[in-house]
Structures are given as structure tokens and as C-alpha cells.
Symmetry: C2
Subunit: 628 residues, 2 copies
């Protein structure tokens, strides 16, 4: 759409600026362009919960176009969880609607004195009073705002009580709280700024340079997808169905990462476990796969509103196996509460599992937990603690700080059980089952997140669909070529998914028949460019290094490129990853070398930054060039 | 007293730990020891307004002993104004009383869920409810707490409304709001943590190793001081009386630093200006000089409670000449409001003067200022704006962010008029009148503060009393030997004043007859050590580098070692510093060399850090040592 919307909340000023070609050329869009803006506008002296922090909503060039599976939006900010670079993304329809309303991106700064929401409709922008929505859950507020605006087609991104109460892993929900931009605490930033919601509605069309090519290739891809077993499997079972497969590989964190698989009989971690509560499917913008599943639970104590969003893969792990919850209804209820309160299920589950292990080990007691028996598998305790966390009541006030800070508050050696990297609770793949995942978690600018480049798709047994990456034949337990795998997958994901705006599950995971070449084809058709694979990967590398530079500039050291000791030292006694530990130390030197990062400081070298056309970043990180 | 008190507010846990010999040996005490603790316990990912930030109240080894002028306490925290190292100090009686109560230091972390105060009495510690005091001014709360505790001898350090409302330059007041630890926003950290006050009372005695030596030398010094002209001058005129002298040198920032002196006739900036409101003197702990002056104003609109603390030197500059206020009553009222609300007068004045210049230049209008005519010299506007700032009402909500952030919120090129270094409003000596002051402001870990080592005392004309420094014969307008002057004075101040606990005005300014040797003599008598001058200076250097390392680690770059353009480029048209600019660029390379800091990055080199026995700091800042 060529336009950035800037909203300064302290004084209530709204302005527009062009989305320059410079941005598009060097960073594509999405997280890429937003990274550049965050890097330029948020220096280290600005804290995450500080009016000067930026909250950037961004879309990719394909978002909202007729390209398939191009419905994602991205949220970028300094993270209240890590203190470093933070990003999060979601599918659904909000991103596309933002573009129809006329903008590619919204940069929010300052802090409103009272709760507000931003209403963007066909190029018009208003900052409106949100006092009456404050205190509502994300779903309720979404409905109330759309109702008050008198247009059911409005799309809303909002926070629940968790964001309002500055829970450090609060999410920004959208589409009636069905989609979550969960990671890195972006919802707390929104809550701090007193922004309850951003409502968007528009009738503009995303301009497409070559409609014919887009249509022709789109049809061809649709045909391919129709007959594809993998795609159909995904349509049927959804991302959560995938969990049982990965459990066989010992990849699924269980009981706070003490095990690699979960034997919850007939629970949600089993292939058919989901079926008994599943009542239908849902889709994101322009996606033929429709991997989303709707669920219903009618019986107490886990009943909730009929036909709401069911738990996705990461949630099944984080709130399911990792907390020892096998009851599919308890898990679905926990997921629903996270959606309503606006909580990241990964960090919520990671923090709860941490507390559960502390409880089981006697490091905390009922005296600490407001009288609750916080043992693994206690579904009612999970439900109750999520509520207390979102409201910052009692022990929930400590859990609201995330596992790293909670362990520091509690003390007593509990730091050992906080499973995070750089403050971000680690996502649901175990590096003991996939070596390169450990490399990604340990070195990622945002901390322990799978969206930085999930290597399981190239490490797992069987044929992979990533032909241009030339990564066939990897052994998931070996460290061989894993630096290369992490390097390539991270760059790829940052170009295709996080910058262009495609759904990574649909098109960059190798699990479907949506081959890589279509992403570029669609991108070129939409933008009128003729970008090639190597160029695209270079841009991915640039974005990744810029994010890394932000994190380094904001204080991260070489020593923080690590994993919890448990993953490095304790192997599983059974299951598909039995006997393995993550050999991070072996991989890092090779990885740094490939990345052009200094072995002793972990900083990108001047040569690498100059090669990537980031000379000012080099000065920031390394000082002025030494004169002869 | 050998004891550190640790208060974790989130869970309400209180513990004690020993003040180790290691700390005493390497850092003496005061800011020194607190810097080490802050460096170790607050990593860059912790924001200033973050439960994990520490608020450290510290005393020096001589604080509360019979050594003369040894009544200071120090407050150290990550600063909400700069985002870097923050410290602040105050005289009075609170620090001595803390020691009588049994502690050298208090480390506060976490965040209480409701307002509390900490009550420390003879080794007993309680966290008590402070709900009823929340919303009170600092003076009122101090009185109410002492009244409720039923002991008028209790000493209280507390915050006013500014700290409660997280004004970024909120102070921590003490002794019925008569003394201010103003700089770096430590009051906002206290407010964020929901701590209204720390009340102390005790009957312990500070142990003295050699009472005889202390008494003998104390008597000798007292005799010397009695007959000393400079000391008597200070007793009579106080620090504010000194202002008129410095104005003659063109050293006194006026109208937001556009002039170096102020011709407010008969106002407070003139030698006798103070007399008409002065009604008496006050003293700090064990000080024979008693430079504090009590004032009374009975007539509206500037009336206030009789016999309260009058404005000190920095306040006369910041809220007086720099805001164009010559009316002594308006200034005294503004000072009284800052004490009640708990606002740093330097940053409050600096931020107001910034806004006034913006108003005069038409960059902001009545529309921005809630209808107020915010011109230089408008005393009523100053009074009103201080109130609005403390309460974060209207335009006060923007001023509450400090000049740097306010300029970024307002935009329109107003950044040029924000007179700060690293976010901290610059104190009231003009580097155009004293070159080395520019060096200190530009490179100081905390930003533009005079307490980092005020070089005016060695740069100003006439004989100086700093014999061991070997700095006689400096020319204040020349850059010659100014790197050396800044280097030595900073180290000296960090050892004697900020670590040992002496009043810098009394004993390290060269303005009195309290010669340097007495500081060491008293220190050795109290602690039983035999420290020599060189050793003391080395510790000062260690402390200074550790503070610097914190600031660097938290994101400061070489480029931030600078001054506002105005000081570098615009010379005064008249007055005692006419025609001069600060030649910072000439001095920095020499200064970095003396300090052992890298010319391109401004970081302390590995060699320097190892020489100072700070090897782990070297690893933090520079990565692991390269292997051969």
C-alpha cells in the first residue's frame, strides 16, 4: 500500500510516511522492515515498558494479496521478557484487513493517559476512548468494539487482562481472540501504552504487478495441493495432530523438559485424542489448507463457549505434556483461557511447568502457591493459575514475570529449572532430538523461539521439500552440517515467512506440497520484481543480522548464546531421543564462522555487516573504524 | 556495621548478608560497593522501572562516625532517566541513623503489590503498610510516619507525589524533605517499587579503630576551620551565596544555556539576594560549617510554610537563572515545591528551561502547555508546571519524562534545545567557562552530573588546596592538562566523597580549609587501615571504571560521550566566559588515553580492567580473551 501509519499516543498525534523503496529493497517487509525501524528508533536506554519503545504492526508485501496462505501480520517491539529484540506473528485476517484499510505498517509510540483504541478504516485514523472495554477479555472486547462500530466485518487485534496487567508474556490476539501473536510479550507493551485494540476495516485492494502470473500459478498450486497427502493430512488433523508424530521422535518437552515424550493415554498428545472435542475447521486468509480446528467442551469444570479455537501444536506441548496434562478437555480449557486473557501459551506453559517442578522438588510449597497443589498434571491448578497470572493475583503475580524472573524472585537455586533462553521460554522442540534446534534457540536474537528458523523440517527423517537449500541427508542426532542447516533455515524463514508474509506452516515447513518456488513466484508477481533465490536468502541474512545487532546493542553477551543446563547435560532415559544431549559447544564455532560473527564476542564482524550493507550498525556495535 | 540488609518486596522477604572485606578493600563503601552490587545484580535486560532493578541505599565507612562532615548517604540504581548507571546522594542525618540502626547498606528488589514502607530500628526490620501515606508530599509523609511510630528521632527517607507518579527525575528526600538525593530518578525507582519511605532509628555506635587519633585530629581540624575565612564565608552565605561568584566567571547557565550569567537585579543570583528571605541556618550530621539556610516567604502567591530549607547552588541555577527567574521568593517557592513533591531541582529546571525555549521559539504554543504562557521568567508558570509535572497532568505528563524524552515526544527539531548528556539534564556549570567540566559531563557514566568530579575547583583562578593532585596553574579556558584534571578529580571524588562518605562541598572542593589529608586520616582512624593517597586514588579509578562499564554494558556508545551542540558551537556574546566554546573534541583522545579507554569504542581496555582487578568486567565488555 506504500504507507506507514505513525501514532504518537502521548500527545495523540497521527501521521503518515511512505514505505520507501529502500525499505522494500533491503528488508522486503514484515519483520524485516520493522526491524530496521525498531533498530533506528529504539536505543538501549529505552526500556521495553517505556513510552519510547515502539510497538510496530507490520505486514509483508504478499499479505492480503491473492497469493495463497499470505495472511500473516507481525508485531515487533523491544521485548519485556528478554529486554532484547522481540517479534511475534499471527495468521488470520487482521493483517490483510489492515492493508485493505490502506496501510502496510503501524508504528506506535508514547503512552496514552487513558485506555484507547485505534480505529483505522479506509485511510481514516482515529484514536478513540476504550475505557469501557478495559478489563474485558480479548474475545469480549473484540465483539464489543465491532458491535459499537456497527460493522461486523471489522477486524480487531486486542489485548485481554494479561496485557492490561503487564504480564510479561501477554499476547496480542486477533479475530475474536482466535489468533495469537503470543511471543516476546508484545501484549504487555500494548497494555503499557494503554492501547486496548486496533480495529481495521477497508476496501482497498493490494496492488498486484502481474495478476496473470499470480492467478495462473495460484491455480496450478491449488491443484497440486488438492491431491497432496501431506496437505490433506494437515487439513484433517491440524498442527496439533502433528504432535503425536513428533512425540515418537522424543522431540516433545514433557514435565518441564525432564522427558522427551508423554504417555498421556488417549490424551491430546495421542493421534486421536483431539477428535472427541473437535467440532469443525477454520481457515486463515486465502488458505486452502484450513488447519485450524474448532473445539467444544460442555462439561464442568472445563466447559467453555461452544466452537472456539482449539489448541495448536505449541500449546499441546507447553500446556499439555510439559505440564503433565493429558486431559484433552483441561488442555482445551487452558488454551481458551489463554486466548481470552491474552497469554502466550508457550511462555505460560513454560512458566507453569517451571513452578510445578519447583513444587514437586519442595523448593516452593503451598505457602507460596496460595494453597494450591501445584503438581504436574493438576489441570484445575493450571486453570486457576492462568487466571491468577493474568490478574497478577498472589502467586500469579510472580508467574506473570515469566520463568527467568520468577526464578530470580524465588531464589533457592530454582534458576536451574527455568527453561528459557534470554528470558524467553523455549518453544516445544527438544534440541536433544534435533541438534540444530539447540543452535537456533541458543543464538536467536529473540531467545528460545521456534519462529526464528525451525530446523526440524530439514533434520527429520525422510525426504525434504527444500531442494534449493541442499540440505538432504542430515542425521538429527549428529552435529554435522547443523551450523549450515540453522544458518540456511533461519535466513529462509526470515525472508519468506517473517518478511514476505507467508504462513510458515503452509509453505516453509516441508510438510506440505507447497514448494518453495511458489513463494518467490508469487512475491515477484505481486511486487513486479524478479528476485532470485540467492538474493532472497541474502535479505534473510541481513534481517537476521539486524535483529542480532539489536539484541547485542541492547546488552546481550556471547555467554547468553546458551541453553539451560538440562538440555546440555541431562539425556532422556527413554523414548525417541533417548541418550542424547544437545552438543551446542561443538556447533557454535562453526555457526559463528558461517554467520561471520566474532568467536569471542558473538558480535557480527565489521566485514559481515559491511557486506550486508549495514555500515552504521557496524559503528554502533564495534565503534568507529580504526584509522591507520 | 558490617551488614547489608536485603529486602525482596515481591514476596516480602528480608535477609541479611555480611559486608565483606573484599568489598571494603576494593570499593571502600558508598557508591563504590553499591556499584559492584548493581553491576553484578542488574544485567542490561533489566529496565530501570522493572522489579529486578535494584535500589541500593549505601553509606560510607565514615558515615555516622565522629569524623567531621561525614553524614552522607548514597542511592544507586539503574536510572530511569538515562537507562544507564544512576547514583544520587544527600547529606543530613538519615545515613548516620541507618548505621546506628545496624546497617551499612540496604539492597531493595522486587515490587510490592501495595504501598509499603520499611521500618528499620536497632537491627529489626519490618515491611509495613503505607497506603495511608500514599499521595502525601514528602514532608507530610515524613512527619506522619514519625508521628505514627511515636518517635520523633526517627529519620525518614521518602518520596513525594513525583516518585509515586514515576516522574523520571523524582528525588528521594530525607529529614522532613529538607535533603534531596535528586539526580538520576532514583525516586521513580522507589515509587515503581511501591516503597513510600524508609524509616530508620538506632542506638548502635559506628565502631572506630583508633578513637584517639580520630579525636585528636578532629579537634585540630575544628580549630583550623574556626579561623578560616573561606569556611566562615560558607557558613554565612551557604552554597547559594557561591552562585554570584561563579556568575562573574560566566559559569552559570542562564535562559536554557544561551547565556553564561544572569542580571536578575537583587535576585537570588546576586550576593545579597538571599538575605531578605533567610531566617536561619541548619546543619548536617557532625558538620561545623552548617551551610544550609532556612527561608521564609509569607506573601502570596509564593508563600510557604515558615522556616524550610532554602535553595542550594544548583537550584539557584536550574530553577533560577536557567529559567530566567530572578524573584527570590518565586525561586524559594519552586524549591520548596520540588522538596515536597520530591523532584530533582536540576532536572526539573533543565526540563522547564527546555520547554520555555521551545515556547519562546514558537515550537510549542499555549495549545501544548495547557494554556500557559511558558516564557522565561514566568515564576507562576514554573510553580504551576512543577505541580503538573509531579502529578503528570496535561503538559506536565510530558515534562515528567525529562528533557530528552520530552523533545522526542514533541519533535519539530526541539531535540536541539534539550540540554542533557545521556538523558540527564546537565548540572549548573558551563563547560564554556571551565573546559574540564565539559569532559566530565560528556564522559561520565551517569551523564551530565557535577557529582562525578567537579573540576571547577582546580580550574578556577587562584590557589587551590588540592596539593597532592599537582594541578596548580590551570587556565580554565585552555584544554591543556584538562584530561589530567578530569581524570584526577573524578578518581578523588569517587574515593573520598562517593565511597568514604564525606561531604564533597565541605572537604573535597578546595573552597574550605578542610584539607585533603584529613579525609584519609579520619578514614584510617575509623577503619584501622593505613591507606595511602595513591592507593585511594586507584580505588577511585576502579569505582569510576566499574560505573563506566555498567553504562557501556547497558548500551552506551562512544558517540554518546558528547555535549549538546550549543555548548560545542555557540559561544556567549558577553560575560565572564564570552567567546569560548567547549573544545571537547581536543580533550577526549587524551582523556581516553589517560583512562585506558579504547579510542574508537570508548570502552575500558582489557589491560586497564585487568590492572584494576576487574577481569570479569573485561569478559562482559570485550568477550573472552582471544586464544593464540
Amino acid at each position: 500500500m506504500g504507507k506507514i501509519l505513525r501514532v504518537e499516543l502521548t500527545r495523540g498525534r497521527i501521521s503518515e510516511e511512505p514505505l520507501t523503496d529502500e525499505y522494500a529493497k533491503n528488508y522486503i517487509g514484515g519483520v524485516g522492515t520493522a526491524s530496521r525501524i525498531l533498530y533506528d528508533e529504539v536505543p538501549p536506554w529505552v526500556g521495553a515498558l517505556d513510552p519510547q519503545n515502539r510497538l510496530i504492526f507490520s505486514t509483508g508485501p504478499v499479505t492480503g494479496s491473492p497469493a495463497l496462505c499470505a495472511g500473516r501480520h507481525f508485531i515487533v517491539s523491544k521485548s519485556p521478557l528478554s529486554g532484547y529484540f522481540g517479534d511475534s506473528s499471527a495468521g488470520g485476517f487482521w493483517g490483510a484487513e489492515l492493508k485493505f484499510a490502506g496501510y502496510d505498517m503501524i508504528i506506535i509510540h508514547g503512552k496514552a493517559q487513558k485506555p484507547v483504541y485505534i480505529w483505522i478504516h479506509d485511510g481514516e485514523v482515529e484514536i478513540k476512548d476504550a475505557t469501557s472495554y478495559w478489563g474485558m477479555g480479548a474475545r469480549q472486547a473484540d465483539r464489543a468494539i465491532r458491535n459499537d462500530l456497527g460493522d461486523k466485518s471489522v477486524r480487531v487485534a486486542d489485548i485481554g487482562q494479561a496485557g492490561e496487567n503487564l504480564v510479561r508474556y501477554a499476547a496480542i490476539m486477533s479475530d475474536e481472540a482466535s489468533r495469537a501473536a503470543g511471543r516476546c510479550g508484545v501484549g504487555a507493551v500494548m497494555g503499557y501504552k494503554n492501547v486496548k485494540a486496533i480495529a481495521v476495516r477497508g476496501h482497498k485492494k493490494v496492488p498486484v504487478a502481474d495478476e496473470e502470473a499470480l492467478e495462473k500459478n495460484g491455480k496450478r498450486l491449488l491443484e497440486t495441493l488438492k491431491g497432496d497427502t501431506q496437505t490433506n493430512w494437515f487439513s484433517k488433523h491440524g498442527s496439533s495432530g502433528y504432535y503425536a508424530m513428533m512425540a515418537q521422535l522424543g522431540d516433545t518437552p514433557t514435565l518441564n523438559w525432564t522427558k522427551g515424550y508423554f504417555d498421556g493415554k488417549n490424551g491430546i498428545t495421542s493421534p486421536g485424542g483431539y477428535d472427541k472435542i473437535s467440532v469443525g475447521h477454520a481457515t486463515c486468509y486465502n488458505c486452502p489448507i484450513a488447519c485450524r480446528r474448532l473445539v467444544t467442551v460442555k462439561d464442568e469444570p472445563y466447559a467453555f463457549e461452544p466452537e472456539v479455537e482449539g489448541p495448536e501444536y505449541e500449546t499441546v506441548g507447553a500446556l499439555g505434556s510439559n505440564c503433565g496434562i493429558s486431559n484433552v478437555k483441561a488442555l482445551a480449557k487452558a488454551n481458551d483461557l489463554c486466548n481470552i486473557y491474552g497469554l502466550d501459551t508457550i511462555s505460560a506453559g513454560g512458566t507453569l511447568a517451571f513452578a510445578m517442578e519447583c513444587y514437586e522438588r519442595g523448593l516452593i510449597s503451598k505457602e507460596d502457591t496460595d494453597g494450591m497443589e501445584l503438581r504436574f498434571g493438576n489441570g484445575l491448578a493450571v486453570i486457576r493459575m492462568l487466571e491468577k497470572t493474568a490478574k497478577r493475583e498472589g502467586f500469579g503475580n510472580i508467574l506473570a514475570e515469566g520463568s527467568r524472573r520468577a526464578s530470580l524472585i524465588i531464589g533457592r537455586g530454582t534458576e536451574h529449572y527455568a527453561m528459557h533462553v534470554k528470558g524467553l521460554e523455549i518453544a516445544m522442540h527438544d534440541p536433544r532430538a534435533f541438534q540444530a534446534m539447540g543452535l537456533t534457540y541458543a543464538t536467536a536474537p529473540v531467545g528460545g523461539d521456534h519462529m526464528e528458523g525451525e530446523t526440524t523440517f530439514v533434520e527429520k527423517p525422510g525426504k525434504i521439500t527444500y531442494a534449493p537449500l541442499k540440505l538432504n541427508g542430515l542425521d538429527r542426532f549428529s552435529t554435522e552440517r547443523k551450523a549450515e542447516a540453522a544458518f540456511k533455515v533461519q535466513n529462509l524463514w526470515h525472508a519468506i515467512g517473517n518478511a514476505m508474509g507467508y504462513c510458515l506452516l503452509a509453505c516453509a515447513t516441508g510438510t506440505t506440497a507447497y514448494p518453495l518456488k511458489y513463494n518467490l513466484m508469487f512475491y515477484n508477481a505481486v511486487t513486479g520484481q524478479t528476485m532470485h533465490f540467492e538474493e532472497m536468502m541474502k535479505i534473510g541474512e541481513r534481517i537476521y543480522n539486524l535483529k542480532r545487532a539489536f539484541t547485542i546493542k541492547h546488552g546481550a553477551t556471547r555467554g547468553e548464546d546458551s541453553l539451560p543446563e538440562r538440555i546440555l547435560m541431562e539425556s532422556h532415559a527413554e523414548g525417541g531421543s533417548k541418550g542424547s544431549v544437545c552438543k551446542l559447544g561443538e556447533m557454535i564455532p562453526e555457526y559463528y564462522k558461517l554467520r561471520g560473527w566474532d568467536q569471542n564476542t558473538g558480535k557480527p564482524t565489521r566485514e559481515k555487516l559491511e557486506e550486508l550493507n549495514l555500515p552504521n550498525v557496524a559503528t554502533d556495535l564495534l565503534g568507529h573504524k580504526k584509522s591507520k
